[in-house]
């Protein structure tokens, strides 16, 4: 593919989720890769210059919200999309929001088509340039 391809980084402590999403995005024409914890994610963003990080919320050591805050701080151009299988996530988000960090979160399981549509709208606000 071309260098115009947007690079997407998937962060989830469940490798199967991260890996399958990578394939889905690749099939959809994106450049995508996966890491399985928050700490690795920061390094990977640096390396891949990711345009978008899709990130699980409930993870050991660095959770998704903390990671997102760090990304915001260090890579303002990198977009962050959270997804979570835990209802408690809402509470974490509320706390973050109270601290001035608003994030969008999708509830797992996210149907792949919905995920693609969401990603497309984040990366290509102009629908005409939707990649094939």
């Amino acid at each position: 593919m071309t260098s115009e391809k947007s690079t997407i980084l998937i962060v989830d402590d469940e490798p199967r989720i991260a890996d399958t999403l990578v394939v889905i995005f690749q099939v959809a024409g994106y450049s995508a890769s996966a890491v399985y914890n928050g700490t690795d994610a920061l390094a990977a963003i640096e390396a891949s210059q990711a345009a978008l990080v899709i990130c699980d919320v409930v993870m050991p050591d660095l959770n998704g919200i903390e990671l997102a805050k760090k990304i915001r701080a260090s890579y303002p151009n990198c977009k962050v999309l959270l997804f979570s299988g835990n209802a408690d996530t809402q509470h974490l988000l509320n706390t973050a929001e109270q601290q001035g960090h608003a994030f969008e979160v999708l509830a797992k399981p996210v149907p792949p088509l919905q995920m693609l549509a969401k990603v497309a709208s984040l990366l290509h606000p102009n629908p005409s340039s939707f990649p094939q």
């Binding site: 989720i17 394939v23 299988g85 835990n86 797992k108 399981p109 149907p111 792949p112």
Partner: protein, 1213 residues
């Protein structure tokens, strides 16, 4: 009215039809002529000949036709003018032809028909022919009914043809027919039997009533054969009747008898001739059947007789002197007035026979033969026996046929009896006899007569009872008279005086006189008073002693008889008296029986004096000379002083007896010289050295020898003196006792309690002085006692009901009696008072004493205790250790759901109210009670009366003197328990929620993976359509699972927004929920809560955190342990935080376990911990951004510390 019938209605009908047909034919002819369809007509002329008219163009022929018509005819011009009219019409209406032609047609029409005619005209002008029946105005002011036909004439302009048929004759016929029908219907509907006969006497018409009366085949018979009749007075018969009537006379309303079907029927007969102008051609016979009337007349006569009998029998009662005369008289009046053969009256005897008591009429030994009984036997089943047995009248309609009458039939027939009626004589529901009436006719008694005779039986029964009562009354009067005579005899002959007196009272209600109403002859002998009746005693004896009317007054008021002896000094007599109340109490009359006992009294007095004399002989009598000593020394002196006469003689008395006298001897001598007498008390010493007291009388006697001698008479009063001294000492002691007694002692020295005084304590109690009369029964209303008021249970007590008065009046001890005393000062106090009578040696009450203790304080304390009992906070139970509920307050009853009536009925048992699972706790409590008298408070449940349960905190103490009984205080903690349970439930719910949240996470992640994988699989271009369809199913199913997890596993969020929470309040409200448990365990809660600001949180969850920690601490601390809450502000990482610590003095947690306490399912409480409490606590706190830490030391206690971020800091003051 009867008319001959000229034509039948059929014939008339045919005639009318013919007329109509002719008219129609005529109209048709005219129509045909007008239409030109007919050239010629054949007309039947009035004379019957036929004429042929040719019409066409023949003015004359046409006119001739019209003239020849039997109907009237006319033509009308356009304005209604009659252009032409035939003679027939002119004849018909009786107006000359010339006057009709040229006049307006409406002049011919009657006013009533004008409206219809004008309508016909209008229709005819429109071309519609019309016909109608109406009336023409004819000459001489008559009207003629006609049949009118109007039709437009086509052949001439503006002309109408009018044909008029005279209906006068037909109308007449109609009227006749109607009249005939009317006559027939009158005949048939008449109630009277009617026959119409022709002049030969043959019946030509009959109506239905006659057929009913005399049969159907009467027509065309001769009346005298078919209905032979004769007048009751014999003046005429059928045969002669006709000659009278055909002669023109009418026979009216005569009673006759007509024979029909071999029956004689009484009738009222009227025969009237039928007249016509041609003469008499028949007659009408009217007969009214009067047999029913005849029957009721006979009935009435009989009833009148029965009625007369009834009235006469009542008369007989009024005049009767004895029963048998009365019965005989009744029998006589019934047989005579009713015309019956015989009547007899019999009484039902106890041996079931019927005893004839009276009869009248033709009897001829019949009653002898009867041998009647009234039991259910052959001889008892006849009319009389049945009537008595059943209480119902019995009728024997026919003795010949009545089988029940068989035993008496022969004798009855012999005497010509044919039927009988028996009516029972009732007393209440029982027949005590019956009367039987015999008649010579069969079936002689009508219902009405039976009714009257039954009434007569009631009168007779009443009469007999009355007579018997009268006799009994007379006997009673006789006995009364005898008893009265005996009484009178006694009254007159009795030796005792007897009187009846009316006691008179003064304005104050005190008895002050009495009046004699009746006295017996002995009264005069006994009193010496004569003609006293009607006089007052004070009139007779003005100086009569008060006690007489006091005592009689008391008898008259109280009704209690008295027996006493007393004196009438004015009469110089003593009486033994017995008095008692007679008559109604308000009459205030007493009967007094008395006996003069003056003689006895006198004898007594003499005896008394004699006894005194005897006593005198025991006196010491000494004669001494002032110089020379004792000259005489009697036996009494020897006995008193112990010196013999020999020893005493010559001695100076005062030396011998060591006399101590109140007055020096020279003074005594002085007095003796003045008055020759001296009296006084002396003290002497006897030979054996005893002191004796004497009353001494000195008498100076100067003898004939001029020597002065002293006669000294000494009476020993040592015993009396000693007694006096003892009495004095006793009185002194008593007085001191009275003064010192802390209770009030009141006493009355009279048996009427009119005067009462008391010891200082009593005087103080009643706020009176020693001079005051304390008696509430005092006669004088102004005395202090009368100003006092006494109450018991809020009701004022009469003076007679006070303990002292009752003790005296009832002559018995009065047990403690509580009452409230209201003093004139307005002060009131509660007294407990006992009373006792004081009796003399004979046991008669002479005085009374009462002890009055002021128990106001005690009562107040009791009342306070009672108020305490009425407390609404605690249920209070007075128990027996076996479960008995001795008493309980309302709160207890409310708590247990029982009523006070249940309590009184003994339905309550606290042990049975306690559910079995608390048995062990109760047993333990019992052990503690036995050991220490109290038990530690504990919580348990009660099963209420309705089966529901209540929670209580129980605390009990046994009585000091009896550990099997005591009091329990119970605090109803049901609400708290329920709240705690609710809290526990919410805690469990929260754990479940948290678990759900964890599970959701675990499910959602795999679902994500599956979704992704399936998506990818579907992207495979080499996928067979079949595989693709499977994958599509997988996608759909995935969607379903996703939906389910999102719906069910994300539910536990607290929906409301977090709020600002004051932790101090949260602690308070949580601790309140645990108050019961804390109290029962004796656990102390200490709280240090300065104002540290507020946190933002979900209040319920924070409370759950505190509750979980408090609950853990309580489980850890021992009884009487301590739990402390502390709030403080602490800077942490440079931000203000609030720290909450909960410290307990519990058992502590071992270090190796401390790390795990926040893990789920960790518990130290194997039996009842969920292991989720602290886990949930931490979950909640983490959610709130708070941190929890724990420190603990085994054996010392545990401290949990929570740090909350501060949401709002209260500005320090």
């Amino acid at each position: 009215m009867v008319l001959p019938v000229p034509k039948s209605s059929d014939e008339l009908q045919k005639e009318i039809e013919t007329l109509r047909a002719q008219l129609a034919e005529a109209q048709e002819v005219i129509r045909a002529i007008q239409a030109g369809d007919v050239d010629a007509v054949v007309v039947s002329g009035p004379q019957g000949e036929q004429q042929i008219f040719t019409l066409r163009g023949a003015e004359y022929d046409y006119r001739a036709l019209v003239e020849a018509m039997n109907e009237g005819a006319a033509t009308l011009g356009g304005d209604g003018t009659v252009l032409y009219c035939n003679h027939r019409l002119a004849d018909l209406i009786g107006i000359p032809l010339e006057q009709i032609i040229g006049s307006h047609v409406t002049k011919l029409i009657s006013a009533e028909a004008m409206h219809d005619f004008e309508a016909m005209l209008a229709r005819a002008w429109r071309g519609d022919s019309s016909t109608a029946e109406l009336e023409f105005r004819a000459g001489h002011g008559k009207t003629i009914p006609v049949y009118l036909s109007l039709r437009e004439m086509r052949s001439e302009d503006a002309a109408l043809c009018m044909v008029v048929t005279d209906l006068t004759e037909r109308k007449k016929v109609d009227e006749l027919v109607t009249a005939g029908k009317l006559a027939t219907s009158i005949l048939d509907s008449a109630a009277e039997a009617i026959a119409v006969c022709d002049e030969t006497g043959r019946i030509v018409r009959v109506n239905q009533a006659l057929e009913v009366l005399c049969g159907t085949n009467l027509l065309f018979q001769r009346f005298e054969d078919a209905l032979p009749l004769k007048f009751v007075d014999g003046s005429a018969s059928s045969g002669t009747l006709f000659s009278i009537v055909l002669g023109g006379s009418t026979v009216r309303a005569r009673e006759a008898v007509v024979r029909s079907h071999d029956q004689l029927i009484p009738v009222l007969l009227t025969v009237a001739p039928i007249k016509s102008p041609k003469g008499i051609f028949g007659c009408v016979v009217t007969m009214t059947d009067i047999s029913a009337r005849k029957r009721s007349e006979i009935q009435l006569q009989k009833l009148n007789r029965a009625l007369k009998a009834q009235s006469n029998s009542i008369q007989a009662l009024l005049h009767a002197v004895d029963e048998s005369t009365y019965l005989k008289e009744v029998c006589r009046v019934v047989t005579e007035d009713c015309g019956h053969a015989m009547m007899w009256i019999g009484f039902a005897e106890d041996d079931k026979t019927v005893r004839p008591a009276a009869f009248s009429g033709f009897e001829n030994g019949y009653l002898e033969t009867l041998k009647l009984t009234w039991d259910d036997s052959e001889m008892g089943r006849g009319p009389t026996g049945s009537a008595i047995r059943t209480g119902q009248p019995t009728l024997c309609r026919n003795m010949l046929t009545d089988s029940d009458f068989l035993p008496w039939r022969a004798e009855a027939i012999k005497r010509g009896y044919a039927s009988s009626l028996v009516v029972p004589l009732m007393e209440g529901n029982r027949a005590f006899g019956a009367f039987s009436i015999y008649s010579q006719e069969a079936d002689a008694f009508s219902i009405a007569e039976i009714g009257l005779l039954t009434e007569l039986a009631a009168d007779l029964a009443f009469g007999i009872q009355t007579l018997r009562m009268r006799a009994a009354h007379a006997r009673a009067e006789e006995i009364l008279r005898e008893s009265e005579a005996r009484y009178r005899n006694l009254f007159n002959s009795m030796g005792e005086g007897f009187c009846i007196a009316e006691v008179l009272f003064d304005a104050d209600g005190k008895p002050d006189d009495y009046r004699f109403l009746q006295v017996n002859p002995a009264f005069e002998q006994q009193t010496g008073l004569y003609q006293v009746v009607g006089k007052r005693i004070r009139e007779l004896i003005p100086t009569i002693e008060r006690h007489w009317f006091d005592i009689f007054g008391n008898v008259a008021l109280s009704g209690e008889p008295v027996t006493f002896a007393n004196e009438v000094r004015a009469l110089g007599r003593w009486y033994d008296v017995h008095a008692y109340r007679v008559g109604a109490p308000e009459l205030r009359q007493v009967a007094v029986v008395f006996n003069d006992i003056s003689e006895h009294k006198r004898a007594e007095e003499i005896l008394q004096r004699h006894a005194e004399m005897q006593r005198l002989s025991f006196d010491a009598i000494i004669v001494w000379r002032p110089e020379g000593g004792i000259e005489s020394w009697n036996r009494g002196a020897e006995q008193l002083y112990g010196y013999t006469e020999k020893e005493a003689l010559g001695q100076a008395t005062h030396e011998l007896l060591k006399t101590i006298r109140p007055l020096a001897l020279p003074k005594v001598m002085e007095r003796l010289h003045e008055t020759r007498n001296w009296e006084g008390e002396l003290r002497h010493t006897t030979k054996d050295g005893r002191d004796v007291f004497v009353t001494s009388r000195h008498q100076l006697v100067v003898g004939s020898d001029g020597v002065e001698r002293i006669l000294e008479t000494n009476r020993d009063i040592t015993d009396r003196k000693r007694a006096e001294e003892q009495l004095f000492a006793a009185t002194q002691r008593m007085s001191a006792l009275m003064r010192a007694l802390p209770v009030g002692v009141t006493f009355s020295e009279d048996p009427t309690c009119r005067s009462i005084t008391g010891n200082p304590a009593a005087l103080a109690q009643f706020e009176v002085s020693a001079e005051d009369n304390l008696s509430a029964s005092a006669l004088n209303p102004s005395v202090a006692g009368r100003q006092l008021k006494f109450f018991q249970n809020g009701r004022q007590i009469n003076d007679a009901d006070l303990p002292l008065q009752r003790a005296v009046f009832e002559n018995r001890e009065i047990p403690p009696f509580e009452m409230e005393v209201l003093l004139p000062s307005g002060r009131s106090w509660i007294a407990e008072c006992t009373g006792a009578p004081v009796r003399d040696a004979d046991g008669n009450v002479v005085a009374g004493i009462a002890v009055t203790a002021d128990i106001t304080e005690r009562k107040r304390a009791e009342m306070r205790l009672r108020r305490f009992f009425e407390t609404d906070l605690f249920a209070i139970l007075y128990w027996g250790i076996d479960g008995t509920v001795i008493d309980a307050n309302d709160k207890y009853l409310e708590m247990t759901g029982y009523t006070r009536a249940d309590l009184r009925a003994g339905l309550l048992n606290w042990a049975k109210m306690t559910p079995p699972e608390y048995q062990a706790m109760d047993d333990d409590a019992r052990r503690q009670i036995k050991a220490t008298g109290i038990h530690r408070p504990y919580e348990k449940e009660y099963i209420r009366r309705d089966g529901t349960r209540v929670w209580g905190l129980f605390s009990a103490a046994a009585w000091e003197d009896n550990r099997n009984e005591g009091v329990t205080f119970i605090l109803d903690i049901t609400d708290r328990k329920l709240a705690a349970q609710a809290l526990l439930r919410s805690e469990k719910l929260a754990s479940v929620g948290r678990m759900a949240s964890t599970i959701a996470h675990e499910i959602n992640n795999p679902l994500e993976t599956i979704g992704n994988v399936v998506y990818l699989a579907m992207l495979d271009p080499g996928l067979s359509p079949e595989a693709k369809s499977y994958l599509e199913i997988a996608v759909q199913e995935l969607e379903r699972v996703t939906h389910i997890t999102k719906q069910t596993l994300a539910f536990h969020r607290e929906t409301s927004a977090p709020a600002l929470i004051d932790l101090c309040q949260s602690i308070d409200s949580t601790v309140r929920l645990f108050a019961g448990r804390l109290e029962s365990r004796g656990v102390t809660i200490k709280k240090r809560c300065p104002d540290v600001g507020r946190i933002k949180a979900f209040g319920g969850e924070i409370q759950q955190v505190i509750a979980n920690l408090l609950s853990n601490s309580m489980d850890a601390v021992p009884d009487r342990g301590r739990i402390e809450f502390r709030l403080s502000r602490t800077p942490l990482n440079g931000r203000a935080k609030i720290r909450l610590t909960i410290a307990d003095t519990g058992s502590g947690i071992a270090p190796e376990r401390l790390q795990s306490v926040f893990e789920p399912f960790f518990t130290t409480k194997e039996m009842y911990g969920t292991g989720l409490g602290l886990w949930v606590t931490r979950q909640i706190l983490e959610k709130h951004g708070a941190k929890i830490r724990v420190r603990s030391k085994v054996g010392k206690g545990t401290v949990f510390s929570i740090v909350f971020p501060v949401a709002e800091i209260t500005v320090p003051q």
